[in-house]
Subunit: 221 residues, 2 copies
């Protein structure tokens, strides 16, 4: 096997593990209970999309929401990683969007069905460039923002997270072995809202990275 470049984790990484309701103010805006343990769901690596390519709204949704999130890129895999060892498994970070077909998710929730169509479709995980860990000394104190057509919609800090990055790494790896190149999406602060065809999304981690994506309809392909 040739050496893999962690700065292009999206080309070869094998999983994206997402945490739902990890900010109390976002759980409340969706009228969800604040969780007592992390809510986990998966996106496949085919969900990644990079700047320069559009976010494609699936034809089956009329309520596509943005969720801006800190992504944690795993450098060293492991099972049952302790919280105290967790940060040693982090290679770096990426700014990520957890694009969500909210109408479909609501339907899945009410029917007791998995969230796959709501969360795992192609382009449901826009990602920034790789951010080496040195550039974010404390993942528990990172300011995230997201604008739609230059209007600020989301602005929060990872200091508001219910479950910290080391806690999440430990909790997840106890059930699902983490591998190099895996990404954990750590949840979104409040302010999620629907986007429309031709909208321009801009998101950033303060002082670290910005990225922008255009929204298009999938049925134009």
């Amino acid at each position: 096997m040739t050496a893999r470049n962690i700065s292009q984790f999206w080309e070869w990484g094998r999983k994206i593990i997402c945490v739902g309701r990890n900010y109390a103010d976002h759980a409340k805006e969706l009228k969800n209970a604040v969780p007592t343990e992390p809510v986990l769901f998966l996106k496949p690596p085919s969900a990644y999309v990079r700047e320069g390519s559009p976010i494609l709204m699936p034809a089956y949704t009329s309520e596509l929401h943005h969720e801006v999130e800190l992504g944690v890129v795993i450098g060293k895999g492991g099972t049952a990683i302790s919280q105290s060892a967790a940060m040693g498994h982090v290679a770096g970070y990426a700014l990520c969007l957890d694009m969500t077909a909210r109408d479909i998710q609501d339907e899945c929730k009410s029917k007791g069905l998995p969230w796959t169509l709501a969360k795992a479709f192609n382009t449901s995980c826009p990602v920034s460039e790789f951010i080496p860990r040195e550039r974010i000394p404390d993942p528990g104190n990172v300011k995230l923002w997201l604008k739609v057509n230059d209007q600020l919609r989301q602005s929060g800090s990872t200091c508001q997270m219910i479950f910290s990055v080391p806690y999440l790494i430990s909790y997840i790896s106890d059930v699902i072995t983490l591998e190099e190149g895996d990404v954990i999406l750590t949840g979104t602060p409040k302010g999620v809202s629907a986007v429309q065809e031709h909208d321009e999304l801009q998101a950033g981690i303060e002082d670290v990275v910005t990225m922008s994506f255009r929204v298009e309809r999938r049925d134009q392909l």
Copy 2:
């Protein structure tokens, strides 16, 4: 990138897409409605386990069920693959178990939560050797069986599937791009039941393959 060997898809494949309730008799035994479109969920590649290693019951479940399923191994990736072209994307098959923490799944369903803890834990996807497509001329006419400690628990034919393999490839690839090495688990016939520590599971595709796995408790590690 060095060439990847499809006969070891579990080492490098990037996703496992599972279809729920694809046999009417199994949907009924779990008191679920027979679906009008496929129910999809994901397992991560870290869920694979091969013969010689045990299935590990997570500590959080007291009702671990076996589901024997035909796995379809994708050879040629694609998006929005037509049903008529679908079989050209199949490299072969694998016999798979969709190990399910049924108590946790029931709880997730009633709370509207994703099925991750019920379906995606380590060793939740035991797989056989790779079966080249020539050995299964018609994936719609394959007999599957599963025994626990030599007692027959599941016996069915893929001719009972609600959605055929070509239909599933077309349906899934319209939403989630398929890549080489991906596996689709096509659902289970009736007869699912709970397994216990030290149980021996044997499963087979008639005239094609058999495999066996021992169940152990995760907390022995």
